[in-house]
């Protein structure tokens, strides 16, 4: 084993090493005054290292434990208030750095920003769903059980569902529950667009200056590239997508040198890969790769038990948004809404409730406050109030 000599260790650029860390780090002297902070902590606290230098750390970190049990013996979850008056949930770990005789030379306070984690926890605690996904039916509960598992896999995921079933929300939920949650989520609609423009949008383009204008895969980095309406992708781009899925490398338009990309691919389509292949809109090899992990979102008409729950959920959401005291639907309005087959799925139901809550002056929404086109479609004489 090769030992690193003390002289080599002493020659290392310690501040530069700290700046390379994704966690906030404060170097403190034995009296708890700031010797320096790294770039991540500068960003988190709003204090530059020059401003923080020499200041007791309680005035820089300003955490929930600074006026109490500091330094804590183990990692502590607390919060800080930064210079921009923002409260940020953090985990602070104090690491003493000792000399060969066991005397404390200085202390490192490692500060991890827990904002993303807390936001995720908050979303998971929302009733009946993950993120923007809401549903109580067995079919939706199964989808919500599958999403965390698919989020952990690195393989591509295909989300299939009619318009309005929540394909985008599922893609976002998979990203947010994945280890890539802190990396970018880049969405590209593969729908009607010229092939050259779509190629540049996905894979980037080498400009006249020689610079590469980044595409979705470069922008996603180690995050997620979400390709909606993937069945609309021209065949030559499907070939390149297959190559990316096999080799994790992309060639920008007009470029000569492939660029590595570790982005996870989530694709969505209203049609299954099999039917896309049958209709000649998707290459078989791409269908095999994308279809390995798939989620089929059921249309609302196949899970009528969700309709009532969704009506109540969105009514609560929009009543809060518009600051209205709307308590429910009249029995007639409720019967009409339950009888509708929602070809536009959850999006249509959500829009109906938003409209009704927005225009209704009463605590109970009558049929008269439902969109006119819905009443015409249902054409129920005697139902209008």
């Amino acid at each position: 084993m090769t030992l690193v000599s003390p002289s080599l260790l002493a020659s290392l650029d310690f501040p530069a090493i700290l700046d390379g860390l994704p966690l906030g780090v404060a170097v403190l002297d034995r009296e708890g005054r700031v010797v320096t902070v790294n770039t991540a902590l500068e960003r988190m606290t709003g204090f530059s290292r020059e401003a923080a230098r020499g200041v007791p750390c309680r005035h820089v970190l300003r955490s929930g434990i600074c006026q109490g049990k500091c330094p804590a013996s183990g990692p502590v979850d607390t919060e800080i208030i930064n210079r921009h008056r923002r409260k940020i949930p953090v985990r602070i770990s104090a690491v003493p750095v000792l000399d060969p005789l066991g005397q404390e030379l200085f202390r490192l306070d490692i500060v991890e920003d827990l904002s993303a984690l807390r936001e995720l926890e908050r979303r998971l605690e929302e009733p009946g769903g993950i993120g923007k996904l809401v549903g109580k039916s067995p079919a939706m509960e199964r989808i919500m059980r599958l999403i965390p598992a698919m989020a952990q896999a690195g393989a591509p995921v295909m989300v299939i569902g009619e318009t309005g079933t929540g394909k985008d929300a599922v893609a976002e939920a998979i990203h947010k529950l994945s280890p890539r949650a802190r990396e970018p989520f880049v969405r590209v609609n593969c729908g009607p667009m010229q092939a050259e423009a779509l190629e540049a949008e996905l894979f980037g383009r080498r400009q006249q200056s020689g610079e590469i204008a980044p595409g979705a895969f470069q922008r996603a980095g180690t995050g997620t590239a979400y390709l909606s309406d993937v069945g609309e992708l021209p065949e030559e781009l499907q070939v390149r997508l297959v190559r990316f899925l096999d080799e994790e490398a992309i060639l920008p338009a007009g470029g000569q040198t492939p660029i590595r990309s570790q982005a996870k691919v989530i694709a969505s389509s209203p049609s299954s890969p099999e039917s896309l292949v049958r209709s000649g809109r998707m290459r078989q090899d791409l269908a095999y790769r994308l279809g390995a992990l798939r989620l089929d979102l059921p249309p609302l008409r196949e899970r009528p038990e969700d309709i009532e729950f969704l009506l109540a959920h969105f009514m609560e959401v929009f009543a809060a948004k518009f600051r209205k005291k709307v308590l429910g639907f009249t029995p007639r309005a409720r019967r009409l809404l339950l009888a509708h087959d929602y070809p536009g799925n959850v999006r249509e139901l959500r829009n109906i409730v938003e409209f009704a809550v927005m225009i209704c002056p009463k605590p109970s929404i009558p049929p008269a406050c439902l969109p006119a086109h819905l009443l015409e479609q249902l054409a129920a004489p005697g139902e209008k109030e």
Partner: protein, 118 residues
């Protein structure tokens, strides 16, 4: 010019690093000439709401504090209370600088020479 009533949330003899965690406060009346008198207040427990109540009850003109959350900052500003936040240092040093007319939000009053605080 009239006498200004100033409140400084305390942590020991320092401006409290956190407004919401201070269980003690220093209230001062600063004359136009720069002289001041002080009085200490103890809160039953640390509370930003409790401090805001105290500020309004005592008809405070200026709050000098360390970190304060946006909602409390804007609430006090809305109540026409001047807030000098992000101040770090001894409370009396902050008060002296305020009475001299030179305290600003963001001032760090600890000595930072050679990396040591005063």
């Amino acid at each position: 010019m009239r006498v200004k009533r100033v409140l400084i949330p305390l942590f020991k003899d320092e401006v409290a690093p956190r407004f919401d965690l201070a269980a003690e406060a220093l209230m001062a009346e600063v004359s136009p000439e720069g002289g001041f008198t002080t009085e200490d207040f103890l809160l039953p427990h640390p509370s930003a709401d409790g401090l805001c109540d105290l500020v309004l009850r005592k008809d405070i003109d200026v709050v000098i504090c360390g970190g304060i959350e946006e909602e409390y900052y804007h609430y006090l500003r809305w109540k026409r209370v001047e807030v000098l936040d992000n101040v770090a240092g001894k409370a009396l040093a902050a008060l002296e600088r305020f009475s001299a007319g030179s305290l600003k939000a963001g001032d760090i009053l600890f000595s930072q020479e050679d990396g040591h605080a005063g």
